[in-house]
């Protein structure tokens, strides 16, 4: 009964999206306010019905309604109840429903938080979002209906959730990632709406900025959680594999990073207009491409969980439609995109365009590495795979000029920057950075050129960021001066420092980790970087829906007890799946990682033992970056500017967060 209700509300949501994608846009073309007014209520209706459908599916999971095919395939009566809530997005159909919930949620948020924006513009934006949503609702209802029934014959119990997904990381990772993916649709909708209106001044950039920043922040968190999950759940101790699924989320992130920087320039200096619009289109297209790659299963990946080639085709069609239409519109209107400000070769504009060039290059590298195997195969040249070394090599090259620009950019002036000033400041950062690199790296036993390079770049970013703050506070760092800096300025500072923290984590982990796979008898021990790992025993563990062997390993350093690790090898009987649950002891300086392998006939066990310095910093840095995005969105000063600009808008008293992000000045 409730399931049928869910099905019904899904269809109602689709009808709402149909109205939303049609009437407001027609209204905007004909200038009919009656049609424009429809936009907001339709957006609310779309969200409300999607939420209802989502709740119906959740209800089916919690009450173990195995008459629904999707529930029967992804749940089990023994599954702990909190995993029943999250199993809703454990497979293809449900995760797409979550995706739609996010999309309608963002649409709803635009309807609520854009009271400072003229109604006709909001109507266009909501109309574009409605049209996108319509495509996905059709897909959901026609090709992947989560409410498909198994009646009259249904199983007594379900097939259980994939054990890899029974984990806290998986509870929050997909929603965050989808928030990011889908969030770029808002920036995209703003760009398309501006193209439709033919008014590509800096106003649209100001409106789109907080949305782009929010999407970027969520995507940052989503990718980070995914990487963290892969680290402790897959049992290989790696945090990034350049796997197609990872690349699929990394590409929109790179394009999104370029977008939030480019939007800042467009807003402040009214230049790069065409470029910014193009970036908004590409960020969203890459999100769709990512969805397509992951869903279709056309690319071999070690961790995609919901794939079906037939369905992939539908998304491909949608992707082609979105890219085709938006680029056609762009081509029609691009003659209007003239920049009228001038700037010199050494200016902040140039630094930011440089940043965009390198981010775009990075996106292309990832795109090429991900798609080349596919192209190769389609051309009949045989199957190939592009290995990790390619990406690592390319990113090592790209990061150096990127960091140089990142260091100089915030300190430079708009229009024209005196080279002499910049030089003297950079000189300080470089010298001090070298000293600090030397100090830090002497604490490691090995020497590695890449570690020197990476650490040095990190210190250059940190030092120039401090210099920049000094510059903005007239060399006097005190509470009053610091408070004067805007929130969006702090957002930028945090974003850059977060990047430095992540970079430091990546550098030190990749260069100074010690990893060993060993075969140990009970009582044997192995030593890595002064840590002595002793294999004490293996004990049997019974979980709610699994049984496990737990390997107990004690760690001793210089005669002192450090910790006891429990590395489990779990067996899930319903899916007949074996899964490794690594034992990890984590702090800011290092992670100790033990994973249990197979038991051999002589009673010894295979074990993975890793010592990974600074690995936590990778995810910590990303969290700092996301915090930076949050601060930027909350900027107060911009809200005021917006208000004065929005006087032509009807309801001034109702304005909300129309203000915006990172002030680079």
């Amino acid at each position: 009964m409730i399931a049928e209700l869910g099905q019904l509300s899904l269809i109602l949501a689709m009808m709402a999206s149909m109205c939303l994608g049609f009437y407001p846009i027609v209204g905007a073309i004909r200038g009919e306010p009656r049609l424009l007014i429809m936009a907001k209520p339709m957006a609310f209706a779309m969200f409300a019905f999607t939420l209802l459908a989502y709740m119906a599916l959740t209800h089916a999971f919690v009450t173990d309604d195995f008459t629904i095919k999707y529930v029967a395939n992804h749940s089990n009566s023994l599954l702990p109840v909190y995993y029943k809530y999250t199993a809703v997005w454990g497979g293809h159909e449900g995760s797409f429903l979550l995706w739609m919930l996010m999309l309608s949620g963002w649409t709803c948020a635009v309807a609520i938080f854009s009271r400072g924006v003229p109604l006709i513009m909001v109507a266009r934006v909501l109309g574009v979002l409605g049209a996108i949503a319509l495509g996905f609702y059709l897909f959901l209802i026609l090709a992947s209906n989560p409410f498909e029934s198994l009646l009259p014959y249904f199983p007594v119990d379900g097939r259980d959730l994939n054990p890899l997904l029974q984990d806290i990381g998986m509870i929050i990772h997909p929603p965050m990632l989808y928030m990011g993916y889908v969030g770029f649709s808002v920036a995209f909708a703003f760009a398309i709406a501006a193209l439709m209106a033919g008014r590509l001044d800096s106003t649209w950039a100001r409106w789109a900025r907080p949305w782009a920043l929010a999407a970027w922040g969520f995507l940052t968190l989503g990718i980070t959680l995914g990487s963290w999950w892969a680290y402790y759940e897959l049992g290989w101790g790696g945090w990034w594999f350049w796997d197609p699924v990872e690349n699929a989320s990394f590409m929109p992130w790179l394009a999104g990073t370029a977008l939030i920087h480019s939007l800042a320039v467009t807003e402040k200096r009214k230049v790069f207009k065409a470029w910014t619009v193009l970036l908004a289109i590409s960020a969203f297209s890459l999100s769709l491409l990512g969805t397509f790659l992951v869903r279709s299963g056309i690319i071999v990946s070690v961790h995609s969980f919901a794939s079906d080639p037939e369905r992939g085709l539908f998304i491909l069609g949608l992707l082609v439609l979105v890219i085709g239409c938006s680029l056609a519109l762009f081509a029609m209107r691009s003659s209007m995109l003239k920049s009228n400000s001038r700037y010199q070769l050494v200016s902040r504009e140039m630094m930011l365009i440089g940043n965009n060039v390198f981010l775009t290059a990075a996106t292309i590298v990832v795109l090429l590495g991900t798609l080349l195997p596919l192209v190769h195969k389609e051309l009949g040249l045989g199957s190939i795979s592009v290995g990790e070394p390619f990406f690592n090599q390319m990113f090592t090259w790209l990061i150096v000029p990127f960091v140089v620009l990142l260091a100089m950019g915030p300190m430079s002036r708009w229009k024209r920057q005196a080279i002499g000033d910049l030089k003297s400041q950079l000189l300080w950062a470089v010298l001090l950075g070298l000293v600090m690199t030397a100090l830090l790296l002497t604490s490691f036993e090995r020497f590695s050129m890449l570690a020197v390079l990476g650490t040095f770049l990190v210190f250059v970013i940190v030092l120039t960021t401090i210099q920049e703050i000094l510059l903005r506070t007239n060399q006097q760092i005190n509470w009053r001066n610091l408070r004067k800096l805007s929130r969006s300025h702090w957002g930028m500072v945090l974003g850059h420092l977060g990047f430095a923290v992540t970079l430091l984590g990546i550098t030190l982990t990749s260069n100074f980790s010690e990893e060993r796979e060993v075969r140990l008898n009970i009582g044997d021990s192995v030593e890595l970087q002064n840590y002595q790992f002793t294999f004490k025993q293996v004990r049997h563990i019974e979980g709610p829906n699994y049984s496990a062997d737990g390997g107990v390993v004690t760690v001793i350093r210089n005669g002192e007890f450090v910790t006891e690790l429990l590395a489990e090898k779990r067996f899930y009987p319903v899916q007949r799946n074996v899964m490794t649950e690594a034992g990890i002891d984590s702090n800011l300086l290092r992670d100790l990682f033990v994973a249990l392998g197979d038991e051999f006939t002589d009673g010894s066990w295979g074990l993975r033992v890793y010592v990974k310095p600074f690995v936590l910093w990778i995810w910590l840095g990303a969290a700092i970056m996301a915090l930076g995005a949050l601060l930027s969105i909350m900027d107060k000063r911009y809200r005021l500017v917006c208000v004065s600009k929005a006087t032509q808008a009807k309801n001034i008293e109702n304005r909300q967060i129309a203000g915006t992000g990172a002030d680079f000045g």
Binding site: V300, S383, V386
Partner: protein, 159 residues
């Protein structure tokens, strides 16, 4: 040429040169890091009339032959045979096998070809999926998908 045009020309040449350099670097790097995919029969009989050369890096996908997995007595090293529709190849791997590695299941190994039918793998992947078969392999085995590798093995005689 007036100075403004000269400046522009310089900028354009610079950008073109930069793009050319980066593209060639990228292609060079890509060339170094492409692993060709083979099935066991392609390793023995050649692919498009060409045999892989010993020392070459490659990826091989196939089904693990039942009963062929042998662990070393003391070390972690493990050897097993891989088959698709024809002859088998031998894989040597020094490391822990993935959780989902099982006899009779599809896996993909990346490594170096030692001699005509032996591969030294540095990575063995099995997918997080019970019914997983690498797409490349599924294609190579079109039509005989439901045949168990064990039967093929017996029909071949223990070669």
């Amino acid at each position: 040429m007036n100075p403004r045009r000269k400046k522009r020309l310089l900028a354009v040449t610079g950008i073109v040169a930069l793009i050319a350099i980066s593209v060639s670097l990228m292609l060079y790097s890509l060339n170094q890091n492409i692993d060709l995919f083979y099935t066991p029969s392609e390793i023995i009989n050649g692919k498009d009339g060409r045999l892989p050369v010993p020392g070459q890096r490659l990826r091989v996908g196939g089904m693990v032959v039942e009963g062929s997995v042998e662990h070393d007595q003391k070390e972690l090293a493990v050897t097993f045979n891989l088959v698709d529709v024809g002859p088998v190849v031998k894989i040597i791997y020094k490391g822990l096998l993935p959780d989902l590695f099982r006899e009779g299941q599809g896996i993909v190994a990346t490594g170096k070809l030692l001699d005509a039918n032996t591969i030294m793998a540095d990575e063995v992947l099995a997918k997080h999926d019970e019914e997983y078969m690498p797409p490349e392999l599924a294609e190579a085995m079109k039509g005989i998908r439901h045949e168990k590798p064990k039967q093929i093995y017996d029909a071949e005689g223990r070669n």
